[in-house]
Amino acid sequence: MFYREAGDFSTTYAQDQQTFPIKFDRYRYYAVLFVALFVIPFVVNDYWVNSLFMPFLIYAIAAIGLNILVGYCGQVSLGTGGFMAVGAYASYKLMTAFPDVSMFIHVLLAGVITAGVGVLFGLPSLRIKGFYLAVATLAAQFFLVWLFNRVPWFYNYSASGQISAPERDTFGILITGANTQAWATYTFCLIFTIFSAIVARNLTRGSVGRKWMAIRDMDIAAEIIGVNPLRAKLTAFAVSSFFIGISGALFFAIYLGAVEVGEVFGITKSFLVLFMIIIGGLGSIFGSFAGAAFLVLLPVLLKIVGVDWLGWPTDIVAHLQLVIVGALIIVFLIAEPHGLAQLWRVAKEKLRLWPFPH
């Protein structure tokens, strides 16, 4: 009752295979999009953007990227932090080398460069699977962080070894640096998030996505129906790294402004994004958003409840957060391996009939 699909009939295949075949879903999606694009930019302030919206939007892109690789193609990766670092350093080098080019181009190019690096580190996936592939990508993680620490060319020989984003604009609006406005950085990240989600959705619902899922579910059968495993896996690595590179570039250039690679893009970042897609839901774009929102909101919520209301010491709350996330990972892996996205699907199925039993 609450969740209505009555009266929705698809009469063409195009209608049947759209992203939101049910009217109710479609209108809600338009409403969310409208609020995000035309309401929030006019009311946000720095606090909201920096503590909630920006990390959510950027992590959502990274989660979509990793979900394509892990959730859709079944190739486990622990190199997310390293690939985000590639995106960050690529955008830094581009920003300093070509100061007049729009930030849009820089971020997209950073994604393309990361895609190339991702393909390179994806090559071992042809020979090794599962656990062993995870370890190989772990090597990528440590190697990349080491590379950016040790080769001064990457941080333009700065004394501190850090990279910091110079002031750059797009269409005359300041996007990076210290003097940006909240609505501008928010909108910039939002555009990339929407772009990533739409592209990811289009790829995963078509033949490319089916190739990835075929490889994930049974690689031998995939090969027999005509999927070239080499190409399928490498395209998954490329597309995944493309999104992760974009998120890394945004994370550095817009969200943080200055980055010390070992601290920001270390192994903990890889795990954070992996936890997002496990909690959110493997193999689901919506799950990527749900997981990112959950893990961005959780610390903020805990801080409000623990520190502000109950007056606990900050370090206890910080440790509590680790305990809760760890426990949740275990709970989700056992009880609902498909994460929040599956819970949402089940809820929708129940809501179709609620409050009637049949």
Partner: protein
């Protein structure tokens, strides 16, 4: 002996075309074990060709040679009049050879419709760029192939479950979905590895009907492995019999049934 390029008509009025695939002196070894020993046979266009034999005779290995999983140490595979170089399975699929597996190999995480649509992958060529935009080229291609997939779904009477995740289906239906996926590729040759294994009589009858219909309506050449003798003798036009990796019989069901070697292999022979 019939000419390779000639067609002929069987006693019950079926027209069998020229040879489309020929195996010449295939030998396949795993280390010291010879799984297939110097076997030659051909498959003609439009026929239903059965490969039978006791357990471990090398039937599945033969199918794996045809579909490119195994590369034989000796011998040649001729397909559509030319010698086939050693190929990867996905290249064989591109050439129009589809197959099903003995123990179902469906994509459990996907719906029935998606599984059938994966069968269309060799026909879908739109690049990644157009797919990421979706509107236009990619959507058109998707709809065209969806129409073919829906025809197959209709044909095999699985419309009602098209959006169901495959993992939820019972065994018999899974077998049918796997057949649908192979058929969706519109193959020249369809290889069926024990399509009726583990089925009850009614399911076997259904499956036999589908196999005959496929052969009849789409003109698909079918090569199948099956243990149920009744089914094999009823369905197939010609039968290859294997035992211990060797070919011991080849011919129409009636010929094979009266072949002394075949009787010995199946019923056992007294060693005195």
């Amino acid at each position: 002996m019939l000419d390779q390029t000639e067609s002929y008509t069987t006693e019950d009025g079926r027209t069998i075309g020229p040879v489309v695939m020929e195996m010449k002196n295939i030998t396949l070894r795993f280390g010291g074990v010879e799984a297939i020993k110097d076997i030659s046979f051909d498959i003609r266009e439009g026929e239903i060709r059965a490969i039978i034999g006791p357990n471990g005779a090398g039937k599945s290995s033969m199918l794996n040679v045809i579909s490119g999983f195994y590369v034989p140490q000796e011998g040649e595979v001729w397909y559509k009049g030319s010698r086939r170089p050693p190929m990867k399975p996905y290249q064989v699929a591109e050439q129009g050879i589809a197959r099903t597996f003995q123990n179902i190999a469906l994509f459990e995480g996907m719906s029935v419709l998606d599984n059938v649509m994966t069968g269309r992958l060799t026909h879908m060529k739109t690049g990644m760029f157009w797919q990421s935009i979706w509107k236009g080229k990619a959507e058109r291609e998707e709809i065209e192939n969806r129409e073919v997939a829906e025809r197959i779904i209709d044909f095999l009477e699985i419309q009602a479950i098209r959006k169901t995740p495959v993992a939820r289906l019972p065994y018999g239906l899974k077998k049918r979905v796997e057949l649908a996926r192979a058929l969706a590729a519109e193959p020249t040759i369809l290889l069926l590895d024990e399509p009726m294994a583990g089925m009850n009589v009614e399911e076997k009858e259904d499956m036999s009907r589908f196999i005959l219909d496929v052969n009849d309506e789409f003109g698909t050449t079918i090569a199948l492995i099956e243990h149920d003798m009744g089914v094999v003798m009823d369905l197939s036009d010609r039968v290859v019999v294997m035992d211990y990796g060797k070919k011991i019989g080849d011919g129409t069901p009636a010929e094979v049934r009266n072949n002394q070697d075949v009787i010995d292999a199946y019923l056992g022979v007294a060693h005195d």
